[in-house]
């Protein structure tokens, strides 16, 4: 009944895979990437990388040398210039992108969005880890304790657990669409949970007296400038790393496909 020659069809697919099809699951030959092998880096990515790293170095200079010493907290306040931007990047864009891409994947069934979600969650966990480690190091000399159950700290900790769980879920599934589907379900639920976690922990803490709050720090204009610049630098770094990671995951899936087809021949 069907006697299409096998060889030609496989080769056709292989060409598409080498050419860099964006979606892999459909089996359709959708060659969307511009670069023939996907292995070379485009110029704009290099420019972005240099810009991100340079601006982080400038932010470092600003934080350590340029910014004046904070009157009450002293030198240790300089941690804040990287602590706060990390927290912002993780809790803001990184986890929100996980949520959005999870929804888009479920609607479109394009694994590309799953890869973006996975990469973003990874970076979110990285920056949350930085936040959680720098926070106590800053808190200890100032508040006298590494940890307080302050709403922000606690929420960040819970978030860290949620997204580590997300990454663990991903790592325990090998089949692409299945992993995408199940982790999208969790990515959506986890993100919706975040504001509720924050509210609940705030109410919890207001019932008991709060020891110290992060509020009340006076930033003069040059400090603010450094902070804003560091925020931009870390955001740029996040964008750069996200693009690199997503491209890697794209490449990985292309390799899987090539391998599969080399077996089928």
């Amino acid at each position: 009944m069907t006697t299409v020659s096998r060889g030609s069809s496989v080769e056709h697919d292989t060409q598409a895979a080498v050419a860099g099809g964006g979606s892999s699951g459909g089996g359709a030959t959708t060659a969307t990437a511009v670069h023939p092998t996907g292995a070379e880096r485009p110029l704009w990515l290099d420019v972005l990388g240099v810009a991100a790293i340079a601006s982080v170095l400038v932010a470092l200079y600003g934080a350590i040398i340029w910014a004046p010493t904070e009157a009450v907290m002293g030198h240790v306040q300089r941690i804040f210039y990287f602590h706060m931007p990390s927290a912002w990047v993780a809790l803001g864009p990184a986890f929100t992108i996980v949520f959005i891409c999870s929804i888009v994947y479920l609607v479109k069934k394009d694994l590309r969005y799953d890869r973006i979600a996975g990469a973003s969650a990874e970076l979110g966990v990285l920056f949350t880890t930085i936040t959680l480690l720098t926070g106590p190091l800053w808190a200890k000399p100032i508040w006298g304790a590494y940890w307080t159950w302050d709403p922000r700290l606690t929420t960040t900790l819970v978030l860290w657990f949620i997204y580590v769980a997300y990454l663990m879920l991903r790592s325990s599934i090998t089949e692409g669409h299945r992993r995408a589907r199940l982790s999208a379900v969790f990515g959506i639920v986890g993100w919706i949970d975040v504001p509720i976690v924050f509210m609940s922990i705030r109410w919890w803490r207001t019932i008991h007296p709060t020891l110290v709050t992060g509020e009340g720090m006076n930033l003069d204009s040059s400090m603010q400038a450094v902070l804003v610049f560091a925020l931009g630098a870390i955001s740029l770094l996040y964008v750069y790393l996200l693009v690199v990671r997503v491209r890697q995951l794209d490449m990985g899936s292309r390799i899987d496909r090539l391998r599969q087809q080399s077996h089928l021949r």
């Binding site: 325990s172 299945r178 379900v185 639920v189 986890g190 919706i192």
Partner: protein, 225 residues
């Protein structure tokens, strides 16, 4: 209406099976007792803050025992590939979700009731005085817990690491529920009226409504292939 009655058919099937073997509820109960027992050794008797610790013990036992039960919920459907048979039925996926949710709710609630009883005996709580408010808290908590738990149970059932992954997924997402349950029941145990815990009850209700809706919407994706 047909929607709910179909869901009830599924829940009823689970309940009949459970009444026959009693595997799930009994193991949940035993586990809950053991958690209370172990925690008990960590608390000095006559400790001034004992009242602050008690609700924590109670809800820790509830959470861990509850996860044990949720784990079994879809494993039972895997025997003979029953889940496939269920998915082949001409009913909407949300009906299947609701059915499993009802069943889990009833199992977890019965576990919770007995664990409360056990707890009240060990910690000299006069249950009669606080039965009503505590019962309301238990029901609201169980709804939120099993709403998300049923969804995650479906997510984790096909995985090799399903036993541990369910706890890892569920516990952090449950933080607001456990917090609200512990705080409101602490108030009640201290002799406050239910109104004193109003904020927490409102949180529970909001959580229940949001996550029941979300889970109904997402369940299809958790089981489809």
């Amino acid at each position: 209406m047909g929607f709910l009655s179909q869901a009830w058919v599924i829940a009823r099937k689970d309940i009949i099976g459970e009444l026959r073997t009693r595997e799930t509820v009994l193991s949940m109960l035993l586990f809950g007792f053991l958690v209370i027992l172990i925690f008990n050794f960590g608390i000095e008797p006559g400790l001034r803050e004992e009242n602050l610790v008690k609700p924590g013990v109670l809800w820790a036992a509830f959470t861990f025992a509850g996860i044990l039960g949720l784990n079994r919920s879809f494993i039972a459907e895997k025997e003979n590939d029953c889940l496939q048979g269920l998915l082949l039925c001409p009913v909407d996926r949300s009906v299947i979700y609701l059915g499993k949710f009802f069943g889990n709710f009833i199992f977890t609630l019965s576990m919770g009731l007995v664990v409360f009883l056990f707890f009240s005996v060990l910690y000299n709580v006069n249950l009669v005085q606080v039965a009503l408010p505590l019962g309301a808290i238990l029901v609201l908590t169980t709804i939120g817990f099993t709403a998300v738990g049923t969804l995650f149970s479906a997510v984790s059932v096909g995985l090799k690491t399903r036993d541990v992954i369910l706890s890892i997924l569920l516990i952090p997402v449950m933080v607001p529920v456990v917090l609200a349950a512990a705080k409101s029941s602490g108030r009640v145990l201290d002799g406050d009226s239910l109104a004193g815990a109003g904020l927490w009850l409102a949180l529970l209700v909001v959580y229940d409504v949001i996550f029941l809706t979300v889970a109904i919407m997402l369940f299809d994706y958790a089981v489809e292939e």
